[in-house]
Symmetry: C2
């Protein structure tokens, strides 16, 4: 079984950028970066010393691993256009099944880093869970060997479980962040800087390292303090935020008092 050295990236967004730059640091040879947009392909290709391509027909057949890191809604189209015979090809999506790649090659897999990646923000990948999947035991070993250069948390996981993890991540990341967004809206109404909430946000997240979210809960909804909740609803102005407040508070109260 030949070790992986040459890697092609299909995609040049946040996930591709973080993976490609980190793999380059670990001395993998990033041979090509593909993006529909020339500027994006050029930008990442330059960073990792790779060839920049904008045409899927130009994808090299000489690599050991092909990593498709594109938005979930772009993956089906890309998968329909690629043909790579017996090459090992993976996607990085939490959502899509491995089999979305089956028309491309006989050797498919998944390489999903469970993290939120943004532009201009360096992330230490060393504790990021990598969810790995493949039908072939040799390919699992190959994918593990690549992931292990980046992180100490490698998990073999099938598509069904991975999809549940991705769904849970939407709550823990996107929806939690949306609560920060709503908090910011409320503060802006009163000309108060969002800075005041930062230590609270950090501590709220840090708490769940040691406690379950259930045990960590505090606040008026948890205590069932109806008088505080009524006043809060009076001073909220945005009708969508009022709706969120009600639903959240009802659900917090219900889940903590029904047991």
């Amino acid at each position: 079984m030949k070790a992986i050295n040459k890697i092609v990236f299909i995609g040049a967004g946040n996930v591709a950028t973080h993976l490609a730059t980190n793999l380059k640091d670990k001395r993998f040879d990033i041979v090509q970066v593909y993006s529909r947009k020339k500027k994006s392909a050029d930008f990442l290709a330059k960073k990792v010393d790779a060839e920049s391509i904008c045409n899927l027909n130009a994808v090299s057949e000489e690599a050991d691993l092909y990593i498709i890191a594109v938005p979930d809604d772009a993956l089906p189209e890309i998968a329909g256009k690629l043909k790579l015979e017996n090459k090992l090809i993976v996607h990085t999506s939490g959502f899509h099944e491995m089999d979305i790649l089956k028309s491309i090659s006989a050797r498919t897999g998944v390489f999903y880093p469970l993290q939120t990646f943004s532009k201009n923000r360096k992330i230490n990948l060393s504790d990021v869970p990598f969810c790995i999947e493949s039908k072939n035991i040799n390919d699992i070993a190959l994918l593990k060997s690549v992931a292990q250069t980046l992180s100490s948390d490698i998990r073999l996981m099938n598509s069904g479980k991975r999809r549940m993890v991705h769904l849970a991540a939407v709550f823990a990341c996107n929806f939690a962040n949306h609560m920060y967004f709503a908090a910011n809206e409320i503060l802006e109404q009163s000309n108060i800087s969002f800075d005041i909430l930062k230590p609270l946000i950090i501590e709220t997240a840090a708490k769940i390292i040691k406690q379950t979210p259930e045990k960590a809960q505090t606040g008026p909804a948890y205590r069932g303090d109806v008088s505080v909740m009524k006043q809060h609803l009076k001073i909220l102005k945005d009708k969508d935020i009022i709706e969120l407040y009600k639903l959240m508070s009802d659900h917090i109260y219900k889940t903590h008092h029904s047991k």
Copy 2:
């Protein structure tokens, strides 16, 4: 103006415990701890080398500062029962107005640490914002001098603004934590340990130190990926969590695409 040294705590819960033990460390003399429940009063009083009392009539008249740290719904009753003439008395509530204390003394104030406090969890108070209020300039100076021994972030703030901060904190802390709770429910359905989400939760919180929550947002609702959202709604089982998912996703999409 006499500096503050002797402090009485009315309340022995999480906020009282964190404040009293930290103030004791800063060499303040905690003279009494009151709680309705003898066991709670005894427990905290022992920690800070104070007298334990369960009767409000036993509150000493010899202290320089009285700190009421009780749940919001218990504060009105406590305030109605205390009489301390010209003594400086404050509450630690984000929600209640300063004037809830006006029948107790002519010298009232607020001493609100903006943080989530739990049992058995030590918190570094040094960057916790303390919101201070008083009508008297000398009392403001006294409260600042106490707060400055604990934290470098002291803010003079009136009751109206403080209430908005408290409301924003409910979103940023309680509601964000509830999203961790929902994520945990989803993972439990598939027998996946909540551990897998911890690096994501920490990074999601850490992101907003440098970016606005608006800029930090990612995920299917933000991208408007209808096909992923439809699938997510299919695999969710709990009807309340489905409702939360819909409302959150609609609101995220709307707020990011209406500008």
